[in-house]
């Protein structure tokens, strides 16, 4: 059994299988936000690993192969961005403004809330970059004294939160413009929010991809300052 679970085949097959099941459930369930495929698939994989008694390190032999594709997938976000180019170009300044305000608000609120709830400075550094894409968040968390593994998990969960609750919250505050919806999902919930925005509308997806990239950059540049100011 152990020999079998430590081959890449196990992790890759389990992940793709869980995603396939989760995706079908989501379609059958009328695309209910709580059935968001990435959330259900994570739960399925965790359950299978638990039942089969397989450790995370063993699973990652295969899981890492899929994580590797996040690189080219991030590069590929240039494609929807390019398609929406003409409608973005004229609005670069308001977009930049929105991203700066949004990513700073996300970081500052996170740090303040962690402190109010009795968290350590280490936890502040771990959680502060969670609205940036996973690779950026991991690098930023570890370079400011946070815990890389927890940063990765919390970042993914923040993305899932955006996919699950983002469209509803935006509707509740009366935002129907696909460009603003995309921007907000990209800033607050990076790649997972962006894939949700892509499902909603191509224009929303393009703005989300742009927002994700810009918010990753602005989070990288501003996080040391935000931590120092609030520290």
């Amino acid at each position: 059994m152990h020999q079998f679970t430590t081959t890449p085949l196990f992790g890759v097959t389990l992940t793709i299988g869980a995603y396939g099941v989760a995706h079908r459930l989501w379609l059958r369930g009328g695309r209910h936000p709580l059935l968001t495929p990435v959330l259900v698939a994570i739960a399925l994989v965790v359950a299978v690993l638990h039942v089969a008694g397989v450790g995370y390190a063993d699973y990652l032999t295969g899981g890492d192969l899929l994580s590797f594709l996040l690189g080219p997938a991030t590069v590929a976000l240039a494609v929807p961005l390019h398609r929406a180019g003409p409608s973005i170009g004229r609005m670069l300044r308001p977009v930049l403004m929105a991203v700066l305000v949004g990513s700073t608000a996300a970081m500052a609120t996170t740090v303040v809330v962690v402190r109010l709830c009795g968290g350590t400075p280490q936890l502040e550094a771990t959680l502060a970059p969670k609205s940036a894409t996973t690779p950026i968040a991991i690098v930023l968390a570890s370079s400011t004294g946070g815990v890389a593994a927890l940063a990765a998990v919390v970042t993914v969960l923040t993305g899932v939160l955006g996919a699950v609750a983002g469209p509803g919250l935006l509707r509740a505050v009366g935002i129907h413009d696909p460009r603003v919806r995309g921007l907000a999902l990209g800033v607050a919930s990076h790649g997972i929010g962006t894939s949700r925005a892509l499902e909603e509308d191509p224009l929303a997806g393009a703005f989300a991809a742009l927002a994700m990239a810009l918010s990753g950059i602005s989070t990288s540049l501003l996080m040391p300052g935000v931590l120092a100011l609030l520290g």
Partner: protein, 121 residues
């Protein structure tokens, strides 16, 4: 598909090299995305070009690629159990602040453009 994937990987490679050589605070894949965007802007390939098709295809199942990192949850159960309040509260409120902050800040500029009849073609 293979040619398109190759081009995506090459952009990531160039982005990573640039990011390291110039000590940019941007990770390689994000620099690679900006690099590919620059190429697409200059060369304007059609929707059937390999890089456009491979890019569109890989993005269709983007959520799949986040699953392994999310499963990392199982390695942090202890920390999560002890610190669930600050972690949960900061996640929820920090996320909402980012979302609503973006919406609030985009009111002025984007709202003006939204009423422009030439928009969104």
């Amino acid at each position: 598909m293979i040619e398109g994937l190759f081009q995506l990987l090459m952009c990531q490679l160039v982005g990573t090299l640039l990011s390291q050589a110039l000590h940019l605070p941007i990770p390689g894949p994000v620099a690679g995305m900006l690099f590919l965007l620059a190429i697409l802007t200059v060369r304007r390939p059609g929707v059937e070009a390999p890089v456009m098709r491979a890019g569109g295809r890989i993005l269709q199942d983007l959520p799949l690629l986040f699953i392994p990192a999310g499963v990392g949850l199982v390695t942090c159960l202890g920390l999560l159990r002890h610190q669930w309040l600050p972690i949960g509260a900061a996640m929820l409120l920090g996320w909402a602040a980012g979302l609503l902050g973006t919406v609030f800040a985009s009111r002025g500029g984007l709202a003006r453009n939204a009423s422009d009849p030439d928009e969104g073609q």
